[in-house]
Assembly symmetry: C2
Homo-oligomer: 144 residues x 2
């Protein structure tokens, strides 16, 4: 069944061993291997928190690209490195997330990036779902 992704998204995961190794799927994409660190898991795939960072950084990155392109900027290289720092006590979610955007462009200034980063808060769905107590820092480096 096809679903309208502008309204609803669907995923499934299935346990594939006797510990915490899952195979995850959505909409015909290649399955994603998901696991946890030893001793509970066997490190056979992405952890849930890594998938969370991939979700947040791709949402942030995509929103930035859409805005920069609307500003008629060229992008020759674009990557996002994310680091999440966990709380020491349960539940051990992130209390701080650093998002580092590295890009290459002939016509993007620091002011353009600061403006674009300010605008993504209104359009990035994943960012909007985070508890306000989590500190998210977005930094950037522009190469020519």
């Amino acid at each position: 069944m096809t679903i309208d992704k502008s309204k609803e998204l669907k995923t499934s995961i299935q346990l594939v061993n006797q510990k915490l190794h899952f195979e995850g799927k959505a909409d015909g994409n290649n399955p994603v291997s998901i696991d946890y660190t030893p001793p509970l898991g066997d490190n056979l795939g992405y952890t849930s928190l890594e998938l969370f960072l991939l979700s947040l950084s791709s949402c942030t990155g995509s929103a930035l690209l859409v805005i920069l392109r609307k500003m008629e900027k060229n992008i020759d290289f674009f990557e996002v490195i994310s680091n999440g720092y966990r709380r020491a006590e349960h539940p051990t979610g992130f209390n701080k997330i650093n998002i580092q955007v590295n890009l290459k462009s002939g016509n993007i200034s620091s002011q353009d990036m600061t403006k674009a980063i300010d605008l993504i808060k209104d359009i990035c769905p994943v960012l909007s779902m985070l508890d306000a107590k989590i500190k998210v820092v977005i930094e950037f480096k522009i190469a020519v």
Copy 2:
């Protein structure tokens, strides 16, 4: 460089076309293809919101498995189907998420599952990072 995943997680994504197609990576796992729906993207991979659901459902599922095993329960089959429903206005994050756990076991009762679901709120990191305004409903079906 190896990082201590109990304290810090790290991911990277790199743009691989002129639209919104990214390749995502963490800790030597197989790269994950990430993209957005047309016209902005080309549907060449998981959307950020699908990765978000995979993150949340694997975290929820793993926490449940850990608790059920501590209760000395057998699990012969375990899957988690998640549906996220987006807000109509920007930012179009989920305002409701349904998590359906389907499992097969000879010794798990509905009461056991209700108890386990109640306990995961204290140990699932991803669940703990969500804004409280997002409604998360966890349901289950037990087959023998």
